[in-house]
Amino acid sequence: MSEDLTAQTIRIAGFDGDEIEAYLAVPDDGAVSRGSVVVIHHMPGYDTSSKEIVRKFAANGYAALMPNLYFREAPGASPDDAAATARANGGVPDGRLVGDVKGAAEYLRAMQASNGKVGVIGYCSGGRQSFLAACNLQLDAAVDCYGACIVNPPPEGMPLKVNPIVGLAPDLSCPLLGLFGADDKYPTPEETSKLSEVLDEYGKAHEFHTYEGAGHAFFSVDRTAYRPEAANDGWQKIWNFFGRYLAS
């Protein structure tokens, strides 16, 4: 694999037809048919490290697209300023998230080399949003990286306007890969075990891994939370999972 790719900022139609910013990376491998991935950025926003993740998918043969979920609140602002504004406003409304992921998935499916299969992956708040999207949209694979507030409600007093969404489990449209840290408090291993039980009840295919010695954000290479052993194994799980469900 050459790992050659082209990456650029584009505009796509998101929720309610709104034009929003998105980051697109496409392999330069000459493939005539490939799977695609919608990347949902973490709560700190549409930042440099999230764009690196998008490029990583392209380097591994997937067309990848990440909508800027904070674009409406903060067009043109730096990612940290945009994230601060979104946080103070209570986060991204669930309905809007689903619409933005739908727009991204439609963009990817319409690309010339698309095989029609689209997966979704999200980190931190994006982990919950990945599950949310997969329960509201017809997708082919979903990855939840340490998403909280799926089973348990948010801590009292927090301004985020999100509610538990485990009740959507019967509508999960595709297999779910969950990657979690044993030391995480949001979500706790108990919470992710509960989610697994619920998915079992509904016969929904899923594969959960909880890494010892890792907490929240263990994939984040630019943060002290980075745990290379967990992250490296997690990436391998992701390649196996997407290879199984998104390949031509």
């Binding site: 300023d81 504004t85 103070a88 708040s125 007093g157 929240h216």
Partner: protein, 87 residues
């Protein structure tokens, strides 16, 4: 972990950001992952004026120890001045 806990308060004053001084209207205080500080969690304060856009922000990320020292220093500084100066 993302703690998510956030305190929002209305404030009056000014701050100096990337584009110079501006009036402040809000402060957001939370203990969560920093953007820049090399710690897993920090006490973060965003001094903001949302009416002037997302970039009207002065941000600090402090270790918990530093944040407590700052809070104590603020209280000490205010306590040391004559009450008549504080309206």
């Amino acid at each position: 972990m993302c703690t998510y806990n956030t305190e929002n308060i209305a404030i009056t004053g000014s701050g100096k950001g990337a584009n110079g001084w501006f009036s402040l209207s809000d402060a957001t205080v939370y203990f969560d992952h920093p953007v820049h500080a090399m710690a897993e969690h920090t006490l973060n304060i965003d001094f903001r004026n949302p009416g002037n856009g997302p970039s009207a922000r002065v941000a600090v990320e402090l270790t918990a120890e530093s944040a407590r020292a700052l809070a104590a220093a603020i209280e000490a500084a205010l306590a040391s001045v004559p009450a008549a100066l504080i309206s």
